[in-house]
Amino acid sequence: MTSQRLTRVGVSASTLVLLASVAACGSSGPSGSGGGGGGEGGTGQVWALQDTTLNPIEEASIERFNEQSEAGDFELATFGNDPYKQRLRTAIGSPQAPDLFFNWGGGNLKEYVDAGTVEDLTPLLDENPELRDAFLPSVLAGAELDGKNYGLPMRGMQPVVLFYNKSVLDAAGVEVPETWDDLLAAVDQLKAANVTPIALAGNQAWTELMWAEYLLDRVGGPQVFQNIRDGVEGDWSQPEVLEAMTMLKELIDRGGFGTEFASVGYDVGGASTILAQGDAGFHLMGSWEFVNQLGQSPDFVEAGDLGWAPFPAVTGGEGDPSNLVGNVSNFYSLTADSENKEAAEEFLSTALTDETYIDDLIAAGDVPPVTGVREKLEEAENSEYTTFIYDQTVDAENFQLSWDQDLQADEATEMLEQLSLFFLGEQTPQGFVDALSD
């Protein structure tokens, strides 16, 4: 399970191709497939993000469905992160649209729903209550908009977790921080021990975003961001935003992230390696980081030096310390114009909870958002970590989708830009608020 983010770079070649294809109003179909969305009885298209670990599992699940079902056949087409978002946008609503498409839920999905391109799955869930019960409610809610369900979870949950290097913390005499003040104290101790307190892959703003997301949640609770997303109650100029950003500023100025973070990349393994080599104490990252570390620095993980903990609580803050942020899950949604709706609904109601599919996901290190898989996780490899993630998600009072996925694309882009300026010290907390609230 490499991160979706991994593919954010290296798109330049396809960019040129896309520029051409978008200029021609997205006239090209998915690569390597038979083209079109498939007519009545034709092969339905499933679009998903490229992922070397998970694609074969998804492929196998589709093949099993094709063998068992009479309703119709599907085939999988996969794309890198940026090309996927660009292609989906232009293809949807056209004859080249897929039948089922991968998405992140939240505001990202909302744009598609608002455009009238996504089928409401609530009737399907109402007819099959056992299907609704099969998924964790907090995760299923990730694709819920105005009380209607527009997607079903098809991949593992990816909350953001505070990773740490045990031996670095031990050497500096630092305990795993439970509160924000603990963390600030830990930063000072780690600095005194001559290591970068927190590894941050700051050359892309989404890594910095995780800090802002958690802090705002801890300070003001989930409602604050939901107001921002819905553009109500003062939006970005709610006082909690300024408070959280001021706290974050304090952490940056204190040297929490060192001085070199602006050019550290995540996709090239920068921040992960810094943590694994013992040059940093903490690293706040999505749950996929564990699998990355396992792949990149197996000795580090196997020696038991990689630790993980929930994000610290903020004393006196509104947000429940059990709250999570991150990628709730990924969802399959059904396009409104699909000509294979019956088959697609059958696929959604059988294939995603299929035992073999769930087992395959677990074997790949994923934590599926399906109720009652805890025992399975315990039996599988790395159970200590996967059960932690599972329990965190089950116990979470709220699971906030990453802001860059939950906001509309234009607002998200602006927010990420302001955030990177903020981390560089070129934007003050008040300036951040002002820039986003106009």
Binding site: V9, G10, S12, A13, T15, L16, L18, A20, V22, A23, A24, D82, Q86, R89, T90, I92, G93, E111, Y112, A115, T117, G202, N203, Q204, T259, E260, F261, A262, S263, V264, G265, V268, G270, T273, I274, D279, A409, D410, A412, T413, E414, E417, S420, L421, L424, E426
Partner: protein, 298 residues
């Protein structure tokens, strides 16, 4: 013989206009049509769903008041001027040197041309690894180790210009090499007899005769700096912050991250106009279009 006019039946003087059809068709389909579409899109709002909604001059008035766009344009001009100042002398010198027919030069210049064979993505990724503040090669070098080439906002601009120079100098060198080889040896022989030394020969003969090549190379750089951003995208992503977010990259981010295709198209049209205008200016101001013989007296 040539006074028979343009519409000749013999076909001796000129090929039929149909010969140009494939090129015209290709140009029309892949250059003119997209350009017109972009102009149209710049007067619409379109987030990629459904059909573009006409928005009048909304995008244009937004562009006029957009401080970020202005910053990006200024940065683009700075990039353009600095890369020209660095690339032209380097390419000119290597090109003239490589024009010599000595065997060692042939071998060495083929090494110099190596970056031409690498894709942009490969070049940008390569330099990103080399300059990485934690694991880069530069970190283990004595003097260079103290710099954070991609993270320090005061030097990252020069880093990007360096990488772009490394990437494009071979191409311009190739232009100069080819042009320098067309300069008749008799000019240098005459100059030697007249007692002109190496430097004098270079500045009095070589550079003046390479004038049009310099202009060609300049126009390519000018147009290029308004259209290419792939190296910057991969090397820094426009960062840290917006330190290296040149105008074409701003257009890309607006279009393909924020999905504001209408506004991105307005930026694209502006860049197109600026690029075309500037290259016209360069060719006009230098008399390039007259195309006088470069070899008077040869």
């Amino acid at each position: 013989m040539s006074s028979r006019g343009s519409s000749t039946q013999t076909g001796q003087q000129r090929p039929s206009a149909w010969y140009a059809a494939p090129a015209v068709l290709f140009f029309g389909l892949f250059a003119v049509v997209p350009m017109l579409l972009v102009v149209y899109l710049s007067f619409t709002d379109w987030d990629g769903f459904g059909f573009p909604q006409p928005s009048g001059a909304g995008n244009w008035s937004r562009l006029a008041g957009d401080g970020e766009a202005r910053d990006a344009l200024v940065l683009t001009l700075v990039f353009m001027v600095l890369s020209w100042l660095v690339q032209t002398p380097v390419a000119l010198l290597i090109g003239v040197w490589a024009a010599g027919r000595q065997r060692n030069r042939a071998i060495l210049s083929s090494l110099f041309f190596l970056p031409l064979l690498l894709s942009t993505a490969a070049i940008a990724l390569l330099w990103r690894s080399v300059l990485d503040p934690n694991f880069g090669v530069t970190q283990s070098l004595p003097f260079l180790g103290q710099f954070n080439f991609l993270g320090d906002t005061s030097i990252v601009i020069y880093t990007v210009i360096f990488v772009i120079t490394w990437q494009y100098v071979p191409f311009h060198t190739l232009l100069y090499q080819a042009a320098a080889r067309t300069i008749p040896a008799s000019l240098y022989e005459a100059a030697t007899i007249d007692g002109a030394g190496r430097y004098k020969q270079f500045f009095q003969i070589t550079v003046p005769l390479l004038r049009y090549t310099i202009i060609t190379s300049t126009v390519l750089m000018v147009v290029g700096s308004f259209t290419t951003f792939d190296t910057v995208l991969i090397l820094t992503g426009g960062g840290p912050g917006t330190t290296t977010r040149i105008a074409p990259l701003y257009m890309y981010i607006t279009g393909f991250s924020a999905f504001e295709f209408g506004y991105a198209s307005a930026i694209a049209v502006l860049l197109l106009a600026l690029g075309a205008g500037l290259s016209l200016l360069v060719t006009k101001a230098t008399g390039f279009r007259d195309m006088n013989s470069q070899q008077e007296g040869a």
